[in-house]
């Protein structure tokens, strides 16, 4: 699966899920989710799962939802794992280096649009 195709799938899922009521587990915020530079922020693991946990820690995405089209932790991991190796590195590095405020997009954390997440667009096709 190419990166662009993966993003398209993710975006289609988001679009179909928009506005739907559902049971969502948002997850717990890490110490640096809010508060700016005064708060300590540990490095994210440079893996697809680690990068997606950072998105949960920052309140950018939720852990799971009964709406399968929502962009959750599981879809995040599957999406990044489907990227080519170079694109995967860029996305993971971008997420690890970003502040939480940079990672959150409209609808975060329950119903984010992955197409708005600049790190997911970083690697290109």
């Amino acid at each position: 699966m190419t990166g662009r195709f993966a993003i398209a799938v993710l975006c289609a899922g988001w679009a179909s899920a928009c506005g739907a009521g559902d049971d969502t587990t948002e997850g717990t915020r890490a110490e640096c989710a809010q508060g700016g530079a005064l708060t300590d922020c540990p490095d994210a693991q440079r893996t697809s799962a680690g990068a997606c946990w950072r998105l949960v820690d920052c309140g950018a995405i939720s852990i799971k939802s009964d709406n399968e089209n929502r962009f959750t932790w599981g879809r995040c991991v599957d999406g990044i794992d489907g990227f080519s190796a170079d694109r995967q590195r860029l996305v993971i590095n971008c997420i690890a280096a970003s502040t939480c405020d940079e990672l959150r997009v409209g609808g975060s954390p329950r119903n984010p649009n992955p197409n708005d997440m600049h790190c997911l667009r970083f690697g290109g096709p």
Binding site: G35, D101, G123, P125
Partner: protein
């Protein structure tokens, strides 16, 4: 009347001048017996550490008293207190007392090959003060007895515990003694049960080669650390990261990505003040250009800086902090098939914050001090420890390692360490191959970095301005006030082979405007690490167990209070140079979602046995 007033004023002035005049260097006679008693007997209502300090003060006062009743006491201290600074106070004091009865013991110290150079120099100066500046007697050719064990307390800051080098004894986490190797050393054969130190001094030649003193950084090359520093560190990571570039004619695709970071940290902890700074930069860049109009390029630049200063009164401190950060992102992703999906986005965020508050205690990184202790244990196990490593030698060793940290190999660190230990009279004789290997293992042990010790509790109030993009609307933007609490704990126990550490944090936004969330979060963690070493100081593996608890609330409409509990286990054991076992497992629960992971890797084999003619 006027003459009377003038006379009275003159008398008063004279009396005042007399009172203000420097008192002669005579102590109160009644003080001498009291000071002698304090030196010899620990008061029942005084703890040992306080008594050590008081003894030193008493020795100084006796030395200034010029009372000959103090001579015998100072002679005894000069002869027996070879490991505590009080011995040097006594040596110096014998010169100040001016009693010729002190001359023989000073001559004896000058002639004693087991004594430090600094002690001998002090004795020479004291002897000169007594009017006896005759050259010191030539040391006897035969090895002399080692310094007597201290009869009094040793320095509380002495980083080593052993005070004798009794054959067969092992202390601490260093490699076990195994077969005693004292006889294989170049050092003279010690009498049964005792190690006889050769004359300490620069190493002439031996296993580590001649003239190693040139490998010992001079004082000017050592890092500038204040004399009263409790701890200090400087960490530099420059241009750490990866970069990849690829092109192939099959797909006609160019791909480039880079993740580069630089980091600088410095911190100095002193008794009454501590300060630290942390500056970093991080760049992530990418360019992917496949065949066709599609192209993606992006750049992310992150710059951070923070600093803090603490002012202590005992264990309690006041603290001021400042932090700033800026991040710029640029992403351009051209979708040739769908122009609506093309993204060109530039974002900028910035933080500028200050905080003030207070706290209790401090946590220090004691890794370098542990390395010194390991050296002492290694020497003792090899029956090559002439005396404990005193604080000044420990400081010199640590600063020398600091100065040599940029070396490509560990050769200079080893040679400098041996030279310093020999010069201080700690290392008896030239180390043989086995001891050199064990010393090198101690110097190269990467498990001795970031070893926390102490307790630190802190509460601060923060005020700052956060610049955030308008879209999407940030939960926190503009002025943000918050209260931050943190706790940290670290302990190195069981001869530094077991580390217990933990921490906690809590954060709450204050004074949030109406319709603006006031998120909060708190968490705690605990960790245990057990390190294992082989017979000769080789790291054998480590066991790492940790647990974390986090609770948070975004304070948004329909948001949930989150709680996450995670635990990790890691175990590594190297069976031989080609075999090992690695077990890693983790379990986490976040509002009913359970995550379990485990990994077991085990390999067994031997290094290749090869021969070629």
């Amino acid at each position: 009347m006027r003459a009377t007033e003038v006379l009275a004023a003159a008398i008063v002035a004279a009396a005042a001048a007399f009172a203000a005049a420097p008192a002669p260097a005579h102590a109160q006679p009644a003080d001498v017996p009291a000071q002698i008693k304090l030196l010899e007997t620990q008061p029942a209502d005084m703890d040992r550490a306080t008594w050590k300090d008081k003894r030193r003060d008493a020795a100084r006062k006796l030395a200034q008293s010029r009372d000959r009743r103090a001579t015998a006491v100072l002679i005894k201290l000069a002869e027996t207190e070879t490991f505590d600074i009080i011995g040097e106070i006594a040596i110096e004091g014998l010169g100040n007392l001016g009693d010729p009865a002190g001359a023989p013991v000073l001559q004896k110290i000058i002639a004693d090959p087991s004594r430090d150079k600094s002690q001998k120099d002090l004795a020479r100066k004291a002897l000169a003060k007594l009017g006896d500046a005759r050259p010191a007697p030539t040391p006897p050719a035969a090895p002399t007895a080692p310094p007597s064990p201290p009869t009094g307390p040793t320095s509380p800051t002495t980083p080593t515990t052993p005070t004798s080098s009794t054959a067969g004894s092992t202390q601490g986490a260093g490699p076990p003694s195994g077969t005693p190797r004292a006889a294989t050393r170049a050092a003279p054969e010690p009498p049964p049960g005792r190690a006889a130190p050769p004359e300490p001094g620069p190493v002439a030649d031996g296993l580590l080669g001649a003239g190693p003193s040139s490998d010992v950084p001079g004082a000017a090359a050592l890092p500038a650390v204040p004399d009263d520093a409790l701890a200090a560190y400087e960490r530099i990571t420059f241009a750490g990261g990866t970069a990849n570039l690829g092109y192939d004619t099959a797909r006609k695709r160019v791909a480039f990505d880079a993740d580069v970071a630089g980091h600088y940290q410095k911190r100095i902890e002193r008794e009454t003040m501590a300060w630290g700074m942390d500056v970093g930069a991080h760049v992530v860049a990418g360019y992917i250009n496949p065949d066709g109009p599609a192209v993606t390029r992006g750049l992310q630049l992150d710059v951070t800086a923070s600093g803090e200063a603490r002012f202590y009164s005992g264990r309690v401190y006041g603290i001021g902090k400042a932090a700033g950060a800026a991040q710029a992102n640029y992403v351009s992703d051209v979708d040739p098939g769908n122009p609506d999906n093309t993204l060109k986005d530039t974002r900028f965020t910035a933080d500028l914050q200050i905080a003030i508050g207070g706290g209790y205690g401090r946590v220090l990184d004691v890794g370098a001090a542990i390395r010194v202790r390991r050296l002492a244990r290694t020497l003792e196990a090899a029956h090559a420890l002439g005396k404990p490593i005193d604080p000044s030698t420990a400081r010199r060793l640590q600063l020398t390692w600091w100065a040599l940290r940029g070396e490509r190999s560990g050769y200079r660190a080893l040679v400098a360490t041996v030279a310093i230990l020999r010069e201080a009279g700690v290392l008896l004789g030239e180390p043989d191959a086995g001891l050199s290997y064990e010393l090198l293992n101690a110097l190269r042990d990467s498990q001795l970095f970031l070893r926390p010790s102490g307790l630190d509790l802190q509460l601060v109030f923060g005020e700052g301005y956060l610049q955030r993009p308008d879209q999407p609307m940030a939960n926190e933007s503009g002025r943000v006030e918050q209260v931050l609490a943190s706790a940290a704990y670290g302990a190195q126990v069981d001869d530094d082979k077991l580390e217990l550490s933990g921490g906690g944090y809590a954060r709450l936004r204050l004074f949030a405007p109406d319709n603006t969330p006031a998120p909060w979060a708190l968490g705690a963690s605990a960790r245990m690490r057990r390190f294992a070493y082989g017979e000769h100081g080789d790291p054998l593996g480590a066991l790492d167990v940790s647990a974390d608890l986090q609770i948070s609330d975004d304070d948004l409409m329909n948001s949930q209070i989150g709680q996450r509990l995670t635990g990790q286990l890691g175990f590594t054991l190297w069976l031989n140079q080609a075999s090992g076992v690695r077990l890693a497992a983790s379990v986490g629960e976040d509002r009913g979602a359970l995550f379990i992971g485990a990994e077991l890797t085990a390999t067994y084999g031997l290094l290749d046995g090869t021969f070629a003619r």
